[in-house]
Every structure is written in C-alpha cells, then in structure tokens.
C-alpha cells in the first residue's frame, strides 16, 4: 500500500474531543446568557429557564416519538421517489463493463479498478440524494408549516432533529445495502477480467482479504547503528527509505505479540507467513538475474537479548518501573525515570528501602556491568555509570542506620546513569548479545503479478548457518546443559561418548563435533578449564562458558571445517520471540543496489478473511460517511434555509474530503513552504520552497507572526471540519486486497461519526428550540 496505516489513538482522540466540545459548550452558554440579558434586559431568568428546559428535553427524549419521525422521514423519501437513484445505478452497472475492462493485464489491478469503481459509484450516487434530502427536509417542513402540527404535540425539538437524522441515515443505509449487494454480485462475476475463462476457485483466490500484522520500523545505517530513516535516493515525495546493498545497512521491523497463534497451518505443519513488497533502486545495470528476477534480499530473525541483561534489575518497588523500561528497550523513558528517582532520593529517601537498594546493587554489579563490559569500548561510559550506581547503592545498604548520609551519593550516581542511558541506550540496544538467524536469501518481485512470490513461509524450527555470536551462544547452552546432566566429563577428561551425544542429541555435524572436542581438550591441557568433581571452573578472564566460547570464537579456534558451517536449529518462540517480540532485519545483498521500504511493506500475514467481510466493512465506512453528511445537513437546516444549508454541507464535505489532510500537514509543519503568507511570498518571488523568503528580518518576523496566527485559526478549523478522507481509506484497503482493519479504519470512521453526531444533535436541537418557527 502507498500509505501507512497508523493505529487510532482512542484515548487521545476522546480527550481532545471532550476538551473541544467543553470549550464550545461553555462559549455557547456564555453567548446565550449575554444575548438573553441584552435582549430581554432581565437578570437572566429567561436564559436559565430556557437552558433548564433544553436540558429537560434532552433527558426526556421518547424513543417512540423519535421512531415515529424516523419512519415518517423514510416514508417521505420513498414517496418522493428518492429511490430513483437505483435506476441510474442499474444503468451504470449495465454499461460500466464496456469501459473498465482490459485496462490492465494484471489480475490484481483489474480487481482494484473494479472494486474502486464500484465503491466510488455507490458513494457518489447516494451522496447528492442524501445531501439534498437532509438539507431540504426540515426547512421545507417549516416553510409549509407541517412542522407546526408536529411541535404542537408533546414532541421535543431534539426528537425532531434526531428523528430526521436517523430517518435519513436509515434511508441511505437501505439504498447502500441494496446497491452494495448488487455491486458485490457485479464484482464477483466481472473481475478479474483476465481470468474470465478460469474456474471459480481461481477467481475467488484473488477476491480475498489479507489480514496483516504490522510492526514498527527503524533502520540501521552503514555502520550498523540505529537511525529513524534509511537513505533517500533523491525523490523527496517518496515515502520509502532505502537500505544500501552489501553493507551493514538494514531495515529493522519489530513485530509485537507474535505467538504460536500467529502461525498458519501448511502442508508441512504450522508456518509463519511473511509478506513483503519492496522497491528497487539501481545505480548500475547489475547482473541479468538482478534485472530480470529482481534484487536479492535476506531476512534475518534476531532475538531480543535485553531480557538477559536486565532480567533482575529493579525488583523492588522503588526501581520497578525503571527496570521495566530497560527491559522494554525504552531507554529515553528509563532515563527520565532515573532522573525522577534521583530527585526522590534527595527529597524522600524513605521511598528507597534497603532491600530495594540491595537489589539494584546486585543487578548493576553482578549482572549489568559484566554484560556491558562484554559489549566493548563503545559502551564503556554506560558500563561505568551502571557500576557507580551499583556501588553507591551498596554503600547505602552497608551504611545501616547512617544510610541517609549516603543517599545524596546514590542520587548523584543515579543522575549520571540517567545521562549514560539516555545517550548510550539506542546503541546499547543494537550491541546487545543476540541470536541472529539468517534466512535463505530471495529475489524481490518488484511487480506483483498476483502470484504469491513475495510471500515467504517459515516453520517454527529454523535451520541456519550460525555466525560467531550464534556459535558461541549455542555451544554455551549445550555445554551448560551437558554439565548439569553430568554428561560432559569423565573424571578430568571429556566423556567418551561426548562425540556421539553432540552428533545425535544436538545435531552437530561430525566435523564440528570433533572440532569442539579437540578445542575442549586443548583448553583442559592449557588449564583454562579445570574439572573439579564434574564441574568446570574457568580462568578469571573467561568467567563462564559464554566467556570461554566467545574468546575462542574471537581467536578463530572454532572456525568450522564443514562446508555448510555451523548449521544449527533455532526455535521461533523459545529462542527468537521469547517475549512475543519478533525482530526481522532486512538487508539487500546486491552491491550498489538499494531496496526501498516503508512500514507497511513487510507484515506477518494471518489467515485471510472472505472478500465479503472486507467489502462489507468498506460499505460500513461509506454508510458512516453518508451518515455524517446527513448529520451536518440536518444540523445546518435547523438554522438556515434549504439552499444555504445544502451549499454549506457541500462546502464542508469538499473541504473535509479534499483539503483536510493538507490542513493537518500545514498545522504539523509537514507541508513544504512553511506558513501560508510565507508560501504566497515565495511563489511571488519564484523561490524554492526550502529556501525561505527574501526579506528583511523584521519582515520575516512579521510574516511568521501572521502565519502563526493563521496556523492557530487553521488548527481550530481542522477540529471543527470533519476529515472525510478517513472514510475513503477502506476502499484503498479492499482495492489492494487487504482486510479493512478495525483500529486504523473502522474505529476512526466510527468515532468521527459519533464525535460529530452528538454535538450536532445538541446544536440542531438548540437552534430549533430557541428559534421562532413562525417568525416573520
């Protein structure tokens, strides 16, 4: 897809909505009170009576009366021949096939054209009917005074507004449903055109809704260090970032909540489906293979080793949040928490009991510091800060009754650790010991032709050629296990059957197993490893099995003589995604070539949903859009006459549909050319949008102030004008063969509708209640 689906933040949206509605309500009440006092000249009794009556109307709404008015509205639409729109629709369906067939030779694009055509046709046919009826309904009732016989019954004005809105929404829903069913039949019979002679099952395989699980994306640069974006290959409008071929540059996706349920059944058992669509950028012609079959890319699955490093950090309540942030890799957040903790150590030292300080001492000195030392000189500062903090904590524990005198020292160490974590955190995350499982390279199909060549399937147990790190970690875990079971040594020598055990139980190739035995024997001879009652002890430098094998790997004593290398097995969940997070790194293997990627370009594919499910959701979004148009139309018609109401609603729709995204880009500063006045001047001066205006600093300052003021107004307008583009996203999903997701499409559409429905009903009811229907 060419857009990035961003999950809807319901909590933030609700908070913003409450603030905005609260401000508007307060403003309306103040304005009403002022107007009432000015016109009636009283102390506001009329206003308070009116307000109380209005609130009473709201709480005494009768659903039966609302239903009666809704039914009347439906009947009115039916008898006024609003449903003639079906005739136009039928005519379009009869002849549309002539004009949209054979436009594309690829089945998926044909399908996209058919689906987009159908959903757009349905929207644009119903929209004018709904807009016209909703804008003219109430004003016409008032004009011919039929509303008078209604409101002289015990009918609250809010019931009239609600009944009208629900009536028009029901009418549009009925039309939408009928057209939707007809459209579904048309799509399934017509598309894809190129498979017209194929079997129904072949055609149906295209009509599906893929369900993706998206991860978060960041990049590693040429040096292997983290960065928010990859390389820009020169197109400023491109939303993809590129990784350089044959370098340490990688795109890193972290997928959350990867569990066994994520796997899909396949003929060889359950497998993980990874689907991708990358874009190639070539600086040279390359090989014939790379031209015809696409660039070569590789997935590498990487374990997240932060759990190892911080597993016991901050068990006590005083440090628990800090530990959680470190384990989650949220180093900025951890640094802030450390700063806060430092301040609390100075202000309320009792928050940090001796038991907590002891835990921190243990985690820093015994665990974190060795891990950081292992990472090398890059993180020496961080390691030192952890060490200092651990020592300061130990001092607090040891001081006993005099602990308060040691707390300032601990607070200072905590502040230094905060700085170290803030600066070194992201680097630390990349350098943490981790298990890397490189998967088989593949050719990137740049032009998806409907076959599933960009869908890769991986079983739970992965076989891979280990790198140095992987080899050391594998041998460490193997030797720890064998030592624990007492199978490693016989006396002070390796056990006789160790070779067989390695080959049979751990699938180590004979060549590699012999190599390990030789190396172990050498270490025993050198005295690096000493056996003491079937337990190995190490020299101080090696410390443990991991330290020993890491040193041996670095000294290249464990280089495999087997042509296949160290072929090992890793379990997707036990070894890689232990905490539910799966990290997938994507690299380009072709030299001087670049692969472009954006967040939606790689996803885990869950079981597909039937096409009608996604199609139904797209119709639901269209229904919500029509509903919002009705709500705006009816509200406007409570204040002004039909034609004015119609053009008002049309204007809001056009702005909301075409310009709202641009408004948001301007407000957020993402639109080239800066502010409105500045842009206008740059156009006049024929200047590049990035260069700024050619004017004195005082003029620039003034332009900036005007632009800021305009930006504030624009921000207000963007809150009041609904973003209609939200409703059309569903068509893009379904057109591209994806299911319409709840969190990024349906929920925002639903909340936008509700967010406008509630205040519009209240505004419409107030306008109708406080206006004289018979005013001359």
């Amino acid at each position: 897809m060419d857009f990035d689906p961003i999950p809807y933040n319901l909590q933030y949206a609700t908070g913003s909505w409450l603030r905005l509605v609260g401000v508007l309500a307060a403003f309306a009440v103040a304005l009403g009170a002022l107007g009432s006092i000015m016109s009636a000249g009283s102390t506001g009794r009329i206003f308070s009576n009116g307000l109380l009556g209005y609130l009473k109307d709201i709480v005494t709404i009768s659903p039966r009366r609302v239903f009666a008015i809704m039914k009347l509205t439906l009947k009115e639409a039916w008898r006024r021949k609003a449903l003639l729109v079906f005739v136009v629709f039928a005519m379009l369906l009869m002849f549309a096939g002539w004009f949209i067939t054979d436009q594309n030779d690829r089945a998926e694009l044909q399908l996209n054209v058919h689906i987009t055509f159908m959903l757009t046709t349905i929207s644009w046919l119903i929209l004018p009917v709904v807009m016209f009826l909703s804008c003219w309904g109430l004003p016409e009732d008032i004009r011919i005074r039929s509303l008078h016989t209604v409101v002289t019954k015990p009918v609250r004005r809010i019931e009239v507004v609600l009944g009208r809105m629900l009536g028009f929404v029901s009418m549009s829903s009925v039309i939408l449903l009928v057209m939707g069913v007809a459209g579904y039949i048309w799509i399934t019979r017509q598309a894809p055109e190129s498979l017209a002679d194929s079997s129904d099952s072949d055609r149906r395989s295209f009509l599906t809704c893929r369900v993706p699980v998206y991860g978060n994306l960041y990049f590693l640069n040429r040096l292997g260090l983290p960065s928010n974006a990859g390389i820009n290959v020169g197109d400023p409008w491109l939303h993809r970032s590129f990784v350089e071929g044959n370098s340490r540059s990688r795109a890193v996706w972290v997928f959350p909540q990867v569990t066994e349920d994520t796997l899909l059944p396949d003929k060889d058992g359950n497998v993980l489906h990874l689907e991708s669509r990358f874009e190639a950028f070539r600086t040279v012609k390359g090989s014939s293979e790379s031209m015809s079959e696409g660039l070569e890319a590789q997935f590498t699955l990487v374990s997240d080793a932060r759990e190892d490093a911080f597993s016991s950090f901050g068990v006590g309540p005083g440090f628990r949040e800090i530990g959680e942030a470190l384990r989650a890799g949220e180093f900025q957040s951890a640094a802030e928490l450390l700063d806060t903790a430092a301040q609390r150590m100075r202000d309320t030292p009792d928050d940090f009991p001796a038991a907590d300080c002891e835990q921190v001492t243990i985690s820093c000195i015994r665990q974190v510091v060795p891990v950081l030392d292992y990472l090398g000189e890059d993180l020496a500062d961080v390691a030192q800060a952890f060490g200092e903090f651990g020592e300061a904590s130990a001092a607090v524990v040891l001081a006993g009754d005099d602990r308060d005198s040691k707390m300032p020292g601990m607070a200072d160490a905590c502040s230094r650790l905060a700085t170290a974590v803030r600066e070194g955190g992201p680097i630390m995350m990349e350098l943490m010991p981790s298990l890397e499982v490189p998967l088989e390279p593949f050719r990137v199909a740049e032009y998806h032709n409907g076959e599933e060549e960009n869908l890769k399937k991986y079983p739970r147990t992965l076989t891979y050629a280990a790198n140095y790190e992987g080899t050391a970690r594998f041998l460490t875990s193997t030797f720890r296990e064998l030592e624990k079971e007492g199978k490693l040594f016989a006396g002070d020598q390796p056990a006789d059957d160790l070779l067989t055990i390695l080959e049979d139980d751990y699938n180590v190739s004979p060549i590699n197993a012999e190599l390990v035995l030789d190396v172990l024997s050498d270490q025993l001879e050198d005295g690096t490893v000493v056996v003491n009652s079937d337990k190995a002890t190490f020299k101080q430098d090696d410390g443990n099995w991991l330290g020993l094998f890491t040193r041996l790997v670095r000294e290249e004593k464990l280089i495999s003589q087997d042509p296949a290398g160290w072929v090992l097995e890793a379990d997707l969940f036990d070894d890689l995604a232990r905490n539910g997070l799966l990290r997938v790194e994507v690299s380009c293997l072709d030299d001087q070539m670049y692969l472009g990627m954006a967040r939606p370009d790689l996803f885990i594919r869950l079981p597909d949903r039937p096409f009608w499910v996604g199609y139904g959701k797209a119709l639901l979004n269209i229904g919500l859009m029509l509903g919002l148009v009705v709500v705006l139309g009816v509200t406007a018609s409570c204040v002004v006459k039909g034609p004015v109401s119609f053009f008002f609603t049309l204007a809001v729709f056009v702005i909301g549909q075409a310009f709202h995204p641009m408004m948001m880009r301007i407000i957020e500063g993402n639109e080239a050319g800066n502010g409105m006045v500045e842009s206008a001047i740059m156009i006049f001066q024929h200047r590049n949008p990035n260069s700024g205006i050619d004017a004195k600093s005082s003029t620039q300052a003034m332009v900036e102030r005007v632009d800021n003021a305009a930006g504030t107004m624009l921000s207000g307008a963007s809150s009041i004008i609904p973003d209609f583009s939200i409703f059309s996203q569903a068509s893009t999903y379904i057109g591209n063969g994806f299911d319409v997701p709840w969190s990024t499409s349906i929920l925002p559409a639903l909340m936008t509708f509700i967010g406008f429905f509630v205040p519009c009903v209240l505004i419409g009811a107030a306008c109708l209640k406080f206006r004289e229907l018979e005013a001359k």
Binding site: R65, I144, V151, P154, A775
Partner: protein, 314 residues
C-alpha cells in the same frame, strides 16, 4: 367562576415583530389580558391582522412573547408537556401530503405515545366522525380543501384533548361542513372540553361561543358573554304561529295602547344556511328533484333537530 377554573390566563401579553437588524416592524399584540374558563367555548374575533393567530401561536409556543405572561393548563407556554392535553387545528391544515388519512392519524397518535390499539381505535372513530371513511386510503395531496380541514380536525382530536384550539375552523368548509364543525364544537363543550376558536366568520362564532373577545390592531376591544353582548335591551321580539290580517291588526292596536308607536310585524325569514341545508337534505331523500319556493316554505317548520347529511363529502 373562580380563578382556579381558568384554563388559559394571559396577562399583559405583547408581541413585536422585528426585522433582521432588530428594528421594530409591527406590534401584533398589545398588552392583552384575558382568561378562558374551563368548559366554555371562547371565541377570539377580529379582522385580518388583528393578532388572533399570533396570540394562538404564542399560546402554543410557536412564537415567543415580547413581554407578558401566559399560563395554559397551569403550565408555561414554553413547556412542551402541556401539549399532551391540547389539540390544535391550524389556520390551514399543514399536514404531510404524502400520507393518507390512516397514516396521518397513526403518525400523530404515535407522537402522543398512544398504544397500537388506542391509535387504531381513535383513528377509526375520528375518520368516521369527520366523514372521510371512503377516502381514508387516499394520499392527502388528492384531498379537497374541505377534506383537508376535516383530517386536520381529526388529528387535533387524536389525543382526546382537554383544550382544543381551533384557528379559523370553518375556513374552506361548505355550509354543511360548517354546520358539522359547529355541531362538533358544541359536542366538545358537552363533553366538558374547553374550546378556543379564532375566526372572522362572526356568525359561526356567535352560534357556538359562550364568551367572545374582539381584537383590533392587537388590542382587546371587547370581551364578555355572547348573550349579554348581543342582547338588545330596548326591544322585545315575539315569535308565534301564522296570524291572519285581522289578528295582526288587533296586535297592532294592543301595542299602540301600550305606547309603542311603530312596530315591525312581518313574516320571519329562514337564513340562507338553513335553506341550503334543507335543500341538500331533501335532495338526499329525493335525488334529481327540483324544489319550488313554496315547497321550501312549507318545509320551514320541519325540525331543526333532524340530522344533516351523513357523508357530506359525497
């Protein structure tokens, strides 16, 4: 009657219509104060533009008073709950023309939250009462003006109201319909309901009203019991059977003896409404026959209590 029995109380009510800029356009009602008692038929009279309809609309909350106070059934005019007990027939029947009679009454019945059974029963009764039984399935856009008034009246009575406000109730009705409307108003009165009717058809108001108020240019000019207001205290009217010329001469002698110098002794005349109603009624009995003036005169003594045509629409 005591104050507690007033159904409507209006005190110093004024209404000024203003233009868009708030400038005074016209004062439709000026310091109006009046009461309507429970169970009476109250006529609000006045020429066009005298403020009758404005007053009614302020009573119903369709217009807001510029000043003054209104109490209707013990509640404020702005209180929607009062409408539960009110029936209103507007000046013209502003109904939904795409509905038929049954649907119209069903819709308005729903607005009163009447149960399904009540709605069906009331609609049936009212449609028969206003003589639209044969046209109940036709959309209102096909109705004549008189038929529209009838269905308008039916919707005003769907909730069996305590207070009925009728704005120009006989407007657009033929004489038969007018008579029926008047009979209905009297019937409502017999049921203990209060009726306020607003009209410039003076004869109609005179026939049914207990009390009247006359408005002119927004001001109350006259108010009181119809009988007292219309009574001519300086004259005496004697009606009797047919007298011979000799008998008439003798009566004149008697009058002279009592000092009545001029007297007007003549054959009384039936009014045109009565004549029309009898003609139509007789036509119903003997279709196609034409009546002479003599025959009509002969029917003058026939009972006023006889029923009028059952289905005037036909």
């Amino acid at each position: 009657m005591s104050e507690q029995e007033n159904v409507i109380e209006i005190r110093n009510l004024s209404k000024v219509y203003r233009d868009f800029w708030g400038r005074k356009k016209v004062q439709a009602v000026k310091s109006l104060s009046l009461d309507v008692r429970k169970g009476e038929v109250f006529g609000l009279l006045g020429p066009n533009g005298s403020g009758k309809t404005t007053t009614i609309k302020m009573l119903l909350g369709l217009l807001f008073p510029t000043s003054g106070e209104i109490s209707i059934l013990g509640k404020k005019a702005s209180d929607v709950a009062k409408n539960e007990r009110i029936g209103y027939l507007p000046e013209e029947s502003y109904l939904y023309r795409f509905l038929n009679a049954d649907e119209t009454l069903d819709f308005y019945g729903r607005l009163f939250n009447l149960s399904n059974e009540d709605r069906v029963r009331r609609a049936d009764e009212l449609i028969k009462m206003v003589g639209l039984n044969n046209a109940r399935r036709r959309q209102l856009k096909e109705y004549s003006k008189g038929m529209t008034r009838r269905i308008g009246l039916a919707q005003a009575l769907i909730n069996d109201p305590e207070l009925v406000l009728l704005d120009e109730p006989t407007s657009g009705l033929d004489p038969i319909g007018t008579r029926e409307m008047k009979d209905l108003i009297l019937n409502l009165k017999e049921q203990g309901k209060t009726v306020v009717l607003c009209s410039h058809q003076l004869a109609d108001v005179q026939d049914v009203s207990d009390r009247i108020a006359v408005l002119f240019q927004g001001e109350l000019k006259l108010m009181g019991d119809v009988d007292q207001l219309l009574e001519l205290r300086e004259e005496t009217e004697i009606r009797t059977g047919n007298l011979s010329d000799a008998a008439i001469a003798e009566v004149e002698e008697v009058l002279k003896k009592h000092g009545m110098s001029s007297s007007d002794i003549k054959k009384p005349r039936v009014d045109l409404e009565e004549l029309f109603l009898r003609t139509v009624r007789e036509s119903g009995e003997r279709p196609g026959r034409r009546f002479t003036a003599e025959e009509m005169a002969a029917t003058q003594t026939k009972g006023d209590s006889e029923e009028t045509t059952e289905d005037p629409a036909s």
